[in-house]
Amino acid sequence: MIGYYISLALRSLRRTPTLSALMVAAIAVGVGASMTVLTLNYMMSQNALEHKDDVLFAVQLDSWDVNEAANTTNEIPWQLTYRDAQALLRSDIPTHQVAMHRYGFTVELEESAIRPYTADIRVTTRDFFNLFDIPFIYGGTWEKTADSSPMQVVILSKATNEKLFSGEDSVGETVILNSQPFTVIGVIDTWEPSPKVYDVNNGSFTKVESLFVPFGLHRKLEIYSWGNTNGWDSGEGEGYEGFLQSESVWIQYWVELTNKEQKTEYENFLTAYIQGQKDQGRFERPLKFALSKPSEWLVLNEVLSDDNRVLGWVSLAFLLVCVINAVALLLAKFLRKAPEAGVRRALGASRNAIFTQHLIESSTIGILGGIAGILLAFMGISGIRYLAMGQQDTVARMDWVMVIAAIGLALIASLLAGLYPAWRISRTNPSIYLKTQ
């Protein structure tokens, strides 16, 4: 019977090609627009650290100006000062902990045809790879001493290893960074969290750094941050050491706390630390710190912006209009065919049969609209990539979930659109269409 209904549906669509095209177009445009925006919002709402959401925490300490709260959503600076980061690193409560920031080096190889280039670097403590579950292809992370004393070792991203060493095992090779020799001790596998949850300071959808060097190098190489450095106190210290001891915040800090007790213990530790600092005249604001899960961190940082939310609502409203449009047109179309439905009823079709037949007709429109809508969504997404000038490349793409969601959305939209007209025609009294005036 379904086959019969489908053939009737196709026949009916061919009968009124303009009207059918109009309805397919309405559904397609609605689905296309909403899928474009919803895909973007969905990708922006991803949490690459979902699987460790209960154990990872971004650390914020309120070391800011006593006269004025920090300009962030929770009024605590996003980052830590270097001296606070160093102090926290001395705690052995967390299972893993990372102090880090973004930096840049010129990269070259000895006796190589590769032209020197600048690359984004992450300066970090050794736990970075453990804490964020980053798999190694070759080698592994540096030893603990490298976090406090200068060791010129480097871990490469897979892409960098391919660029510099054609993907071979490069552990033990030397890379020249800012004309200093660094020994490769590891190569990580592809790891592209998007949004870049571990550091959203410089755009949430930017690429992961391509080289990683230890946190113990600051003094030797006079490393500043290539991310954000925010200060409120011009400080008194001189030179690079003065910068390290200043109240400027530029270090991101994450901890892994596997259970509740550990978390409580760590919170007590932070409270005690801030108290101690208060005694020394720092942390003049009310005692405040925050431990945010990755999911909370993304919300705090407003990774999904107000504009994205507005676009999301607009596109859903747009889809709603398209659905109402399709309802009106389907109603018109079905009512025009009411005499035929009357004949069918007289010949033995039940109300359910008439209802099913018409619902299948509207689903056919839905499927066609859905397919066209997905194509439109792909176009919409490339349009957004273009308009965003590469700033949303990691999110402006469709995965299978979204393709399936698009088909589902189209089907739901057209079923919704077809429900009332199909019901309406299945309920009409056949006898009034059978008589001749």
Binding site: S179, G231, G239, S305, V314, V321, A388, Y420
Partner: protein, 402 residues
């Protein structure tokens, strides 16, 4: 003659389709009026004057490869070379590229050791050529002299003596006073920085910042691993100049990695999000009107077909062509007005949420009225063709059986 009552009862019998059209028009009005205010707001933002000759400027980032590179020495040679290049008007050094979303800011005060009541401003470390290179306009006082230039190590703290600031920043920090010769205090320091000049406008680093346009310039070069140059080309010659820059600088000293980007691209990137909103919302509003119009065309045609016989009878009984088309147009206006009434209410309610939750602009009465008018026009235009067609139904239809 208007036959409003029979028309209303005919509409009442077709209430579902009529309501569906009214609902579409209402939603369309609610969406369009809210998008229009957002789009208008963003366009105004994008079109704000920057004060800078954006189209003529190239930004160059130079990063030294050796670790103990003499950047200060390199800077003067580089600038000398850049300024001598053909079609180059001028070149300057800066710690950050304007309008690039990278920048630094600090709070400045009018009294020494002050802790509250300061004004935040972008800060640029540059040289006397910045006014000419950026195409800024000096409206009071004077520019820096070469003798005032100071060369620092990266985190060396030394007193700065002079500053040039924007008019906007001057108005904020010294309202209703002549700022020239007045002191600025950088944070809670006690060393006065003398304001020696005021430039008309410079939008600073962050276009989204509420204080965008508060900018202060200092005659400083820091000896850092990397520096930025800005080069201004003769009008229309920017792309020619761009081609030679990297080669010329590398030729002078190959020990650096050099990257260039035109300032207009930085600006486009800064406004990419706003631009995206403008484009997407405009497309949505346009397609929405189009789709709704198509729906109205489709439904009006359907209605007229349904009533072809009736129309024929009316014609046979003496109704003129214009009577018939007027009937359908008035019917359509009744539906449209209902939709617009519903839509205006919805638009205002939606806008409250937009303002409260998503910090979007307020919808005022004028744009709402304009959008309502637009929706009415779209609706009438969509009904026009079918209504005219209805008028062409021959009175003979009445005598023909189905």
């Amino acid at each position: 003659m208007l036959e409003l009552k029979p028309m209303l009862s005919a509409l009442w019998r077709n209430k579902v389709p009529a309501l569906l059209i009214a609902l579409q028009l209402a939603l369309t009005l609610a969406i369009i009026s809210n998008t229009v205010v957002i789009v208008k707001d963003r366009i105004a933002k994008i079109e704000r004057p920057t004060g800078i000759a954006v189209e003529e400027i190239i930004a160059i980032n130079v990063m030294a490869i050796p670790n103990n590179y003499d950047m200060i020495g390199a800077v003067s040679s580089d600038l000398e070379l850049l300024r001598k290049l053909p079609f180059v008007k001028d070149a300057t050094i800066t710690n950050q590229v304007p309008l690039s979303r990278s920048g630094s800011a600090g709070t400045f005060y009018t009294q020494p050791n002050q802790e509250v009541g300061g004004e935040v401003s972008n800060r640029y470390n540059t040289d006397p050529n910045f006014i000419n290179t950026l195409g800024l306009k000096l409206v009071a006082g004077r520019n820096f002299t070469n003798a005032e230039m100071q060369y620092f190590d990266p985190s060396e703290i030394r007193d700065i003596n002079v500053a040039v600031i924007t008019q906007q920043f001057a108005d904020k920090i010294y309202p209703d006073q002549d700022p020239i010769g007045k002191p600025l205090y950088d944070g809670n320091t006690s060393h006065p920085i003398e304001i020696i000049g005021v430039i008309e406008r410079h939008l600073g680093a962050w276009v989204d910042w509420s204080k965008a346009g508060n900018v202060a310039f200092f005659p400083i070069v820091r000896n850092t691993q990397d520096v930025n140059y800005l080069v201004r080309a003769e009008p229309g010659k920017r792309d020619d100049v761009l081609k030679t820059l990297v080669d010329k600088l590398s030729e002078r000293d190959p020990q650096r990695v050099i990257k260039t980007r035109v300032l207009s691209e930085y600006v486009a990137r800064s406004y990419a999000g706003d631009n995206l909103m403008v484009k997407v919302l405009s497309i949505v509003a346009a397609t929405l009107s189009f789709i709704v119009a198509l729906g109205i065309v489709g439904l009006t045609i359907f209605w007229i077909n349904q009533r072809a016989k009736q129309i024929g009878v009316r014609r046979a009984l003496g109704a003129s062509r214009s009577n018939i088309s007027r009937y359908f147009l008035i019917e359509n206006s009744l539906i449209a007005v209902t939709g617009i009434a519903l839509g205006s209410a919805a638009a205002l309610i939606v806008n409250q949420y937009m303002v409260r939750d998503y910090s979007q602009p307020v919808l005022t009465l004028l744009p709402l009225l304009i959008c309502a008018l637009l929706v009415l026009v779209v609706s009438l235009a969509a009904a026009l063709a079918p209504a005219l067609r209805a008028a062409n139904i021959s009175p003979a239809t009445a005598t023909r059986s189905v």
